[in-house]
Assembly symmetry: D2
Homo-oligomer: 225 residues x 4
Amino acid sequence: MPSTDPIRVLVWSERTEPAAVYPDGMNGIIAAALNERDGIVAQTAQINDPEQGLSEAALATTDVLVWWGHGRHRDVTDESVARIVRHVTARGMGFMPLHSSHHSRAFKALMGTSCDLGGWREDGQPAHLYVAEPSHPIAAGVPQYVVIPQDEMYSEWFVIPPPDELVFISSFLGGAEVFRSGCCWQRGAGRIFYFQPGHETYPVYYQPELHTILANGVYWSAGRT
Amino acid sequence: MPSTDPIRVLVWSERTEPAAVYPDGMNGIIAAALNERDGIVAQTAQINDPEQGLSEAALATTDVLVWWGHGRHRDVTDESVARIVRHVTARGMGFMPLHSSHHSRAFKALMGTSCDLGGWREDGQPAHLYVAEPSHPIAAGVPQYVVIPQDEMYSEWFVIPPPDELVFISSFLGGAEVFRSGCCWQRGAGRIFYFQPGHETYPVYYQPELHTILANGVYWSAGRT
Amino acid sequence: MPSTDPIRVLVWSERTEPAAVYPDGMNGIIAAALNERDGIVAQTAQINDPEQGLSEAALATTDVLVWWGHGRHRDVTDESVARIVRHVTARGMGFMPLHSSHHSRAFKALMGTSCDLGGWREDGQPAHLYVAEPSHPIAAGVPQYVVIPQDEMYSEWFVIPPPDELVFISSFLGGAEVFRSGCCWQRGAGRIFYFQPGHETYPVYYQPELHTILANGVYWSAGRT
Amino acid sequence: MPSTDPIRVLVWSERTEPAAVYPDGMNGIIAAALNERDGIVAQTAQINDPEQGLSEAALATTDVLVWWGHGRHRDVTDESVARIVRHVTARGMGFMPLHSSHHSRAFKALMGTSCDLGGWREDGQPAHLYVAEPSHPIAAGVPQYVVIPQDEMYSEWFVIPPPDELVFISSFLGGAEVFRSGCCWQRGAGRIFYFQPGHETYPVYYQPELHTILANGVYWSAGRT
């Protein structure tokens, strides 16, 4: 029977998100939300911690690494990137890069492609996050669609390997763009869930429906669903 | 080297499309458009022909079957359905069901699921057809997106097996819905391309960009790209 | 958090397996083995039960249906087949057809292809079942390969849709043949796991490693891993 | 209609193959075999050429890069690797790594995993290369299986992303091992075909059936089938 031990989550941030929006960091609010869920124990780490919060000891006790970065991708060291990739592919650590982390070094290394976007636009318009595969465990308890009142638009072509499983597709009212906004991959022993919402200038990760999705993502990438 | 013989296409219709929109049938305009392309020889067939236009002799000389039906799915005989499925899976005939043909009997038999829609709405609003995989041969020569001025909205969940390749995703401005609008599958020896646009009350299949996509679909499902 | 309720399994047989090998039926030994696992409650059903053991009430309380048939596929009624397909695709019941059940009517309906084999041979030679994706939950606790001392050879081409996940590949020493012997698909709300071992004239399902795989298949197709 | 221009192939070698087996290099015999096929113009390059034979000008005029290396993977420069990856993902150059090139730097960068093998053994035993998807263009004209009289055994787990398309599976009589020996992926704009046969101490690439497969791989990875 699958393990019922608590899932140890490390929520990492480069800590450039505006303090006015995220006084405790985007990782702070996400860790707090995850800690309210059964079977999850979440901690935070950030780029200014010793070894960027990504020491061998830290990763060795992490079941799922949630990641947010935007302007400081290049400051993440070769050692940090190599360690993340190894823990994902060889040990089976889950990895959940959020929003602008499509350009994080570890995600690009795991994908093997540029992970570029077709376009983006910060227009304060709503995003509609549709469930494309309601039977997927990451969509459990999520309504047919979630409206995010304000978020950054991302559009195709998202230059990624075809996802093994496509869970969410978003549309953006500002220009009718679409984007594969919730994508799953198996890479070696590990599972990866990329999730598009969350531009740091809007309070996206205070939204309860997204907490459900993040928790589902943790259960799934830890191999529990 | 791949064959360079002309590809023999049969464009089938149940012939319930409004004569005011399609005086020669939706199959008539599509066959005419395909016949302007290099390497394609297209003919039409319809439900009122002998053996519903789907005799063993007709299918045996068909490389790709393009299909449109809406209100008369149940009138297609068991024999016709079995013959189509056999020619696709055992002989490698391509199959391209359009729009409301998501509920055609042959498509449902090949998919093994209900092929139901999450929702639909005939609101005369535009559809935006986005290319999700520009490197796919069916997207060759297609811009980043195509605006269809008026079409019926289809929304997820589209109850299909996960497509082997997802080429197009559409959004619908009336309600920000999204839909996997261009989907590819391999089934036995045959290739299937489902394409969502084309509600029969709007002149969708007069649009040149869609002719390009249909021709690309023919090349792909015939194994030429 | 994923459910921790017991998983209700129905193990079905057409009851043509030799009594000398399976005095309580192949379904009897499999149900007994599953009942030794945490979180699984397994019952048996068979073709001679009322409504073939597949009444609406029976399926409505089944989370995973394990299936074995060989010579009596045609005796399974249209009603039984339609009910199975509906419970899988619309309600999310798991479905695990074993060995010669590749030709069972419900499996063929869910696949949309002939599910024919490239070849087969009852030669009493060993089969080597290799794990092709050790990180898949169905491979949990399974060694790199399992030797089945005697089983029927099945060879490619297995005419199925490309599996969403390929967990096991077998080789057969009699002729060096290979076969995709553990295949997963999502169909609508339901998960399907086809598993190749188990010719009824050999005591294959007494082998403990296969009990582990069947239990893992139950956990997975019930959405618990 | 798909292009009919000749496909420009560059066949690269690190040139450590035994001269007794491949006096003109493995790349020499492969280029010669490809040049006998319609629509292909093949040239050779190797690690000792200026810029390792992989200058911007050379790759910019290459439609498909066929690659063999074994002992000198680390000598391929960062610049060469980055250039190959960019031409594959951004421009759509095909890439066909052979045999021990599973550990080539460009292949590993494109896969995002270790590309390690479960095991290997140089035992002079035959390999049986089975067609797992006869409808795939790379299998065109290939019999149900090809016997390679002597080759190195490779076994699962092959630590790769799940192939988008699995065309060949091999078994190895020395120990009944299996291996996913012909695997296809889309990465950005480019197509990748990994092919397992070809240990350099055996004259594998003189075998005509393999020439057919390599030519089919060229047509496919150039987008012509």
